[in-house]
Symmetry: C2
Subunit: 254 residues, 2 copies
């Protein structure tokens, strides 16, 4: 397999008790997942981790050993419950240090004298980290090894991610086709399973919906070979017609 | 500590490639998290797991050993990519069997002869499992040991959860108070950290927001002792006023 065809993988760690208590509904995972898919990076797993250092350390170390990239969100603000940076330093076994570049980024963001001890927490990164810029509210994230540490506030996380994504090495992009039908999943399941068997290099998913009083499902064919996807999609349309329904191209309207 | 004060913990496993690709945005975690909090059950972690048997088996076995309850969502439909039930059976080391009660639930849901092989997949559970009823679309979930296996379609998952939650053993309910202020987190961080230090039995979180052109934060105090929460909340209001702002009671308007 040529070098450029290497599959590139990732994990996402959503850090914060507020997600686990239900107070805050995470929206960061969906954004990162979409972006990674566009970049040809396979998101293999995601975890929501509590604000407990040992938990963060364990999750970071497990995932950074297992995947090409790890993205964390949350826990890099100025308050006592923001422990992600210290936990990542611990995971890598390096000290957390005041980064002069981060300090220089924060300084003009506050009124004179406003860069107090709490805010200076946001200028601390693990020794050896590179900063990830924050065009929204100055306080940077960072990259340490293959771990990218991003903010939890969605607008800030997105700005950070959009800034860094040009530096990510993607694999072959994941292409897809979506064909749906107003058919019960149970009606098409046998034919769909046979189609999956005939196309082992594709990943065929079935996602049921209930709309306007009718049951149906969207079928998503994913892979890296456009020709193969198109061929399988055409067979799927034939299958749908054989079952007495009409193929719906793309995602069925909500 | 009396028996009824035992802390009860849980994990959620969201199973499905469609979440990891970004195609589908998960909404089940937020619902289960809120419900567990109301029941006095601490959700300690959540994971999004791909449709790969070994991954599901590993996550189920790790979490069921570690937490009092595990809730899975997704992967119990009739198509080839629905492998949760088989994976949970594998995790417990028992066969996947056709459950006559599940079959009896499915039979009247379809036209005569409609309960084909694919649909019968949904009547298979690990040997020894108890069914979790599905008042929406018949196909049941199940409980195996401390693992509850629920549907991925949100309306179905909620109906299943609402039906089973009366059987969950909760711990002391987690109570909370929320007080906010139009103050930068960095301004209040020192005082807030000192408040956390004075109330080690509470968990004090700070969640920044930007609304109507102003920065602020909501501070959430969580614990099991209402008196302690009220006392700390009163100190927090005093702190906010000392910093020249007015406390906002409850979640600040969006």
């Amino acid at each position: 397999m040529p070098e450029q065809e290497k599959i590139v993988t990732a994990a996402v760690l959503i850090i914060g008790n507020e997600i686990l208590s239900g107070r805050t509904k995470d929206v960061n995972l969906g954004y990162i997942a979409e972006q990674l898919t566009k970049l040809g990076i396979r998101l293999r797993e995601a975890r929501v981790v509590s604000d407990v250092e040992a938990e963060i350390v364990a999750a970071v170390n497990e995932c950074r050993a297992r995947y090409d990239y790890v993205f964390t969100t949350g826990g890099i603000g100025p308050t006592h419950d923001d422990i992600t940076s210290a936990s990542v330093a611990r995971a890598f076994g390096v000290p957390l240090i005041l980064d002069p570049r981060a300090r220089a980024l924060l300084e003009p963001h506050y009124p004179p004298g406003g860069l107090n001890e709490a805010r200076l927490r946001m200028a601390h990164v693990p020794e050896g980290a590179e900063l990830v810029l924050n065009p929204v509210s100055a306080a940077p994230g960072f990259r340490m090894g293959n771990v990218f540490v991003l903010a939890g506030v969605p607008a800030v996380m997105r700005a950070m991610f959009d800034g860094l994504k040009g530096n990510l090495r993607g694999g072959p992009p994941v292409l897809s086709a979506t064909v749906g039908a107003y058919l019960g999943e149970g009606v098409i399941a046998a034919g769909l399973g046979a189609l999956q068997d005939r196309y082992p290099d594709l990943e065929i998913g079935s996602y049921p919906f209930f709309r306007q009083g009718r049951y149906g499902a969207s079928f998503v064919l994913r892979g890296t070979d456009r020709g193969l996807i198109d061929k399988a999609a055409e067979e799927l349309r034939t299958l749908i017609r054989q079952l007495g329904a009409e193929p719906i191209e793309g995602e069925a309207p909500g």
